[in-house]
């Protein structure tokens, strides 16, 4: 029986097309919940347009995953050394469906406000683990088994979270490449979509790049180092500039948006709030609890706590609602780094010795997984490292931010204290035994 196709309007990809099977996932409770989870937590308090949710991002990731799959498995695009990697036609169709379902579900384990409160999960738990549990849940299992042909939940989990998370599970080369299409460091469509979407909604242009050209030039290639033959996603040489643009976009988005100091301090206040509000200061890992908690529930509770000074979570709630967040006292800078690479931490420790510790916060964050070395298929058929062809890639910086924040009532005093004592505070200390 032919499947019906559905189209959803989307500001980034114009139309997102999905079939009836995929629609059944979209209609499920775990997926619909993503309508109420902000993609960028409280970033909308700094960039008012950034109110988009995990729901539309997940649809976008599915759309891009399908496009990449079709490009990299097209017969004319498969490198001769990689021909054996591709399964037979039936299996290829199966894996295309698995890939799109995995893309659709890759974020269903996200907590309220996405990453902001993730450290409040019990030891050993992450949103990816909750995603895996959700995909294997009875509710979703009923969907997988009702499909024709049925899909294996374990296959969907593998591609949705990848080998980096499923550390004890072995992946075939084919599965590794498919997981890379979604969560890969270099060309994962999760990244492509969030850069384009976050940029669009926040109203900053830094995250834009020519993803059409980039996707058209993606290929499954062996890395060009030392004769090794492990397959991975690479590009044809003609896509090199669009790959450069992607990696630069990522750097700029981290430096300008994701690591914005006010956004970071709101994350900290939100975590302080959640720690005081959640039972035992932790998120529940029970799936029923997980599915019933969204940003809406937390925002409602924050508003209430902001009005009730008797509640233990009152202070961080009030700071969020009244925009009375801690202010930036110190941030990492190249001059101080030359004296002490840990200057920010030194300022934090000294500030805690001088001002009430509960009114000082330290934040250190670095851009992770900065892949600039990937295989490129040259116009004369060689496979070489991207770094051999691109001066730009050799010089893409790594975004890093270190901040010390202080309560607004101490800001002026603290600024004067820091100006007076700066050199002493950041002077490196000798190593002790």
């Amino acid at each position: 029986m032919p499947k019906h196709f559905h189209e959803i309007r989307d500001p980034i990809h114009v139309f997102i097309r999905l079939d009836t099977d995929e629609r059944s996932v979209l209609d499920s409770r775990p997926f619909q919940r993503l309508r109420y989870v902000h993609q960028l937590a409280l970033t909308y308090l700094v960039y008012p347009g950034a109110t988009h949710r995990r729901f539309e991002h997940s649809l976008g990731v599915m759309e891009l995953a399908g496009r990449v799959f079709d490009i990299v498995t097209a017969r004319d695009n498969v490198d001769s050394a990689m021909r054996d990697l591709l399964p037979t036609d039936d299996a290829l169709r199966y894996w295309r469906r698995v890939l799109r379902m995995a893309a659709l579900c890759h974020d269903i384990g996200h907590l309220p406000f996405s990453h902001a409160g993730e450290e409040l999960l019990p030891e050993g738990w992450t949103h990816e683990r909750l995603t895996s549990e959700n995909i294997r849940s009875d509710e979703m299992q009923n969907i997988w088994t009702a499909l024709s042909p049925p899909l294996r939940a374990d296959d969907i989990v593998k591609l949705a979270v990848g080998p980096k998370v499923l550390r004890s599970v072995s992946f075939s080369d084919w599965e590794t490449v498919l997981a890379e299409i979604i969560v890969g460091n270099a060309f994962g469509v999760d990244r492509m979509d969030y850069l384009l979407r976050d940029s669009y909604h926040a109203g900053v242009m830094y995250g834009r790049f020519d993803h059409f050209r980039l996707i058209d030039t993606l290929r499954i290639l062996p890395p060009g180092e030392d004769g090794d033959r492990t397959p991975m996603l690479g590009i044809e040489q003609g896509g090199l500039q669009s790959a450069e643009a992607l990696l630069l976009a990522r750097y700029f988005m981290f430096a300008q948006l994701y690591f914005h100091p006010v956004r970071r301090i709101y994350d900290i206040h939100l975590r302080d709030y959640l720690r005081a509000w959640l039972h035992a200061g932790q998120y529940s890992i029970n799936l029923t609890d997980h599915l019933s908690l969204t940003d809406n529930d937390v925002l409602f509770a924050i508003q209430r706590a902001a009005r009730d000074s008797a509640l233990p979570e009152h202070d961080p709630a009030r700071r969020i609602v009244e925009r009375d967040h801690f202010r930036l006292l110190y941030e990492r800078n190249p001059i101080d780094i030359r004296t002490n690479i840990d200057a920010a931490r030194a300022v934090y420790k000294a500030a805690c010795d001088t001002f009430p510790e509960s009114l000082v916060r330290y934040d250190s964050v670095v851009q992770r997984n900065v892949p600039i070395d990937f295989p490129v298929l040259t116009s004369d058929g060689r496979i070489v490292s991207s770094l051999d062809l691109s001066d730009t890639l050799n010089n893409v910086p790594v975004a890093k931010a270190d901040y010390v924040f202080i309560a607004p009532e101490h800001r002026d005093t603290a600024k004067r204290w820091l100006e007076t004592n700066r050199d002493t505070i950041i002077a490196p200390k000798e190593e002790v035994e």
Partner: protein, 190 residues
């Protein structure tokens, strides 16, 4: 071990790899750090999993990236083999600040840099997977069963290559024991 002490060990190791003429790509740093932790018992606290080229730590990869942000390390393109990791301008700062940590693990970092530094990526994959399997099955497991396990995990490694790698690892284990005994003698006389 504290974060900056771990950074000092990485700086010291990269310096030795560079000075031994090693290609010093990320795979070299990953595998030498794996041997430092798992064979020579340097308490680096990285979680290594079996990945594309054998044991790999995503946390270590993140630390290398962070060290690039701090200009402690930098990438040096080496066509046609991809980039070497070399010391960045602030690496001297770490060497000045952590002389004790660097001295404490000097013998261990030299041990792995000398043995693994000259290897190619494919050789590193074999010996690191061989050590992974030896730790999984135990040192008393015979070479044949360990080689079979290496082949299960990495089918593209031939039986002969697996056996060669396991023999090398056995030699490294002996060397590590000798080094450990020498350390204990020094401690006893101190």
């Amino acid at each position: 071990m504290e974060r900056l002490q771990r950074v000092a060990v990485i700086v010291s190791l990269v310096e030795k790899l560079n000075s031994k003429g090693s290609w010093s790509g990320e795979t070299h740093v990953q595998k030498t750090m794996y041997f430092l932790q798992e064979l020579l018992r340097v308490s680096l606290e990285y979680d290594f999993i079996l990945y594309k080229h054998g044991p790999y730590s995503f946390d270590l990869s993140d630390d290398i990236t962070a060290m690039r942000a701090d200009t402690l390390l930098k990438l040096d393109p080496q066509p046609p083999y991809g980039p070497r990791i070399v010391l960045g301008e602030e690496s001297e700062q770490v060497k000045r600040r952590f002389p004790k940590t660097i001295a404490q693990y000097n013998a261990e970092t030299s041990f792995v840099a000398e043995r693994l530094g000259p290897m190619r990526v494919v050789e590193l994959e074999r010996v690191a997977t061989a050590l992974y399997v030896t730790r999984e099955l135990g040192e008393s497991a015979d070479c044949e069963s360990r080689a079979r396990r290496v082949r299960e995990l990495k089918p593209h490694i031939s039986l002969e290559q697996a056996c060669d790698a396991l023999r090398q690892v056995d030699t490294f284990i002996e060397g590590a024991r000798t080094l450990h005994a020498a350390h204990q003698n020094v401690s006893a006389h101190a």
